[in-house]
């Protein structure tokens, strides 16, 4: 398990999440290579099906990084994202995937340290949970139908 480098898909919103990641880069703040950033306009655009897909494709963890509550650029997007994540988590537990594989982080565009810290923290937590029980896409098991 020492070698296990968790793969994380981080959906970052264009207004707060993504800029905070960029600023982390500007400040050369390191975080694990397993973090893959997907830029979306708003975390409110992330439907639960995307999160499931990400897990189906083998991501060990999924995190939604958006604006702080009450500060969403589109007013309610992050709130919807939070609700959807809250509905999905018990399902992930029921399925044995684990609610701990889905996180939400609501941060400010300037909070570069928080961004990097959140990624590191998630990575560590995922190391504890172990790899996604579904395995990575294309590695044994049955291919996804779609």
């Amino acid at each position: 398990m020492g070698d296990f480098q968790p793969s994380i898909i981080a959906f970052t919103c264009a207004w707060c999440g993504y800029p905070s990641a960029v600023l982390a880069g500007v400040n050369r703040i390191e975080y694990p290579t397993g973090v893959n950033i997907v830029r979306v306009m708003c975390t409110g655009m992330i439907e639960p099906a995307y999160i499931m897909r990400a897990l189906e494709y083998g991501a060990d963890g999924v995190v939604l990084v958006g604006c702080m509550m009450e500060n969403c650029h589109y007013m309610v997007g992050n709130k919807k994202a939070q609700e959807r994540a809250d509905t999905l988590r018990p399902l992930l537990d029921m399925m044995g995937i684990g609610a701990g594989r889905l996180r939400t982080e609501w941060i400010n565009a300037s909070e570069r340290v928080r961004f990097a810290a959140a990624m590191k923290d998630f990575s560590v937590a995922l190391k504890g949970l172990g790899p996604n029980p579904l395995g990575r896409l294309g590695e044994g098991g049955v291919e996804a139908g779609h």
Binding site: S7, I9, A14, Y18, P19, A21, V22, L23, A24, G25, V26, R28, I29, E30, Y31, T33, N36, I37, V38, R39, V40, M41, C42, G44, M45, I46, E47, Y50, R53, A54, Y57, G58, A59, E70, N71, C72, H73, Y74, M75, V76, G77, K80, R84, A116, R136, L137, G138, E139, E143, A144
Partner: protein, 598 residues
Amino acid sequence: MAEEEMTGGKGRVGVYLCTCRGDVSKHIDLDRLAAELSADPAVAFVKIDSELCAPSGQGALQKTHREGRADRALVGACTPNIQGLIMRAALEGAGLNKYLYEQVNLRELCAWVHADREAATDKAVRLMRAAIARSLLLEALEDIELDVVPEALVIGGGVAGMQAALEIASRGFAAHIVERTGALGGRAYKLSVTFPTHNCGICCMQYCRECVLTPKIEDVMQNPRITVHLNSEIETIEGGFGDRNVVIRTPGGKKELRVGTIILASGSDVFDASRIPEYGFGVHQDVVTTMDLERMLEQERVIGGRFVRPSDGKTTPMTVNFIQCVGSRDRVKGNLHCSLVCCTYAIGQAREIKKLHPKTEVYVHYIDLRGPYRGFEEFYEQAKAEGVMFVRGRVAEVREKKGRLYVLFEDTDLGRLIDMPSDLVVLAVGQEPARDSDRIAKMLHLQLDQDKFIKDLNPNFPPEYRRGVFVAGCAEGPKGIRYSIDDAKTAAAAAADLMVAGKIRKTRAIAVVDETRCRGCGKCEDVCEYHAAKVVVKNGRQVSVRDPARCEGCGVCAAQCCNRAISIKHNTRPQMEALMKAMMAKGGAGARGKGEEA
């Protein structure tokens, strides 16, 4: 630096990598990256440049694109939000549709945050592959063109509002000022002399009521392009960028306005000093605010009366104590933020008292003296020279003992607790967001900052993001008169720019509804913040439609729709799924499902 190129398969994606003058190539093995990517059948070529954003780099992009080997471009470089716009514009100049442009941030999101070069390169491969999978599914799109109604709405008739209206009118457009009270001028009009002169001996043309404000109000009232609605409030603002329907409540009934731009200059309110009971405002007559003091000073300076204590109406105060930071820098009973101008105007008033009554002792009790404006230091030195006394230490309490007012404080420089008798206590009250401004901010989809003032979008963002709405003056945060007016000029100029252009190009990355899948359930309508979604009856059935002027492309409705009837252009599900799949796939480039083999 010489460009390198590797030719791949018969793919359509042209890949351009940038070494960022060595800064990226130091941390990512771009040669290996290029080799791995060019093996992907979807890639037409991979070119490496040292500085894509420089003129040489832009030229190289254009030259290569014109060769016609690829119909879309993927750049692996820095952040798409900044330099990426340069590269995209260069390729647009060579004929590439801007929606066929994709950029991966290999610098801030990879090179600069991972120490292990091998691992960083692996990640770069992964990110680029994912982007290739997405770019194959991109569609060429055209921006939407919207008309801008050549009329502006100015909310608030204070100095910022008036200035904005005058600027807009001077450029030939109509402006409506909606003012809540019965008069223009706002709070600045209630001030009698303003920083920095406080001395009308020379012609200063600052913002004093007598010299400047009154004539400005007359200008506004007489301007044929400006309509002033006094005693009026905003009821609703609907509509989208460039075309908004505003309903206002006036004494004469409801009125509807149609405007293209909006300037929110709703100002700020003064802190209610009774919220700090230990200062005794509202309890002791001789405890007043700086605004009250204006009226009192006016009596003597202008009207020919006398500056007297309110309690008896006849004696001149011989000891005046200014308490600074009332309601500001106070986490418990007030607001945390500093109100910027109180030190300045309190010192001005202190000097004024000294001028009228040199024998009166004037104390200014402060924690810090903050005067961020030009001339303040000299102003402060003058005040001291004129005998105003500055005492460091926040006043704890104002109380009455045996018919006399006492001010209790610790002089922190001397380290002594002092209970000083006072004839007049002046509370330098801070500024707060104006009552009801949050409701208007919500209607205009503006956020509030940590102090609940209205956050205007960074002017560096392209104009289409500001949606024709601008915030000016104290609505955005406490500031002095001069700066409110500057703000107003900037806002008015930006608004006028839009109206002069008459049209705005809006991103096409907005929601579209597949009417065969839409069930007309209305969930999207419920969830859309911008009222861009509406369920209408078409061909006998209920379907949801979009107003392209209002839709922001946030995607909240698309995620809410349980039947995949809504997609966001340029952010479609297939694009997202292809991206994620490629990102997580292990093994060969361009891996697809088993359907490929058959």
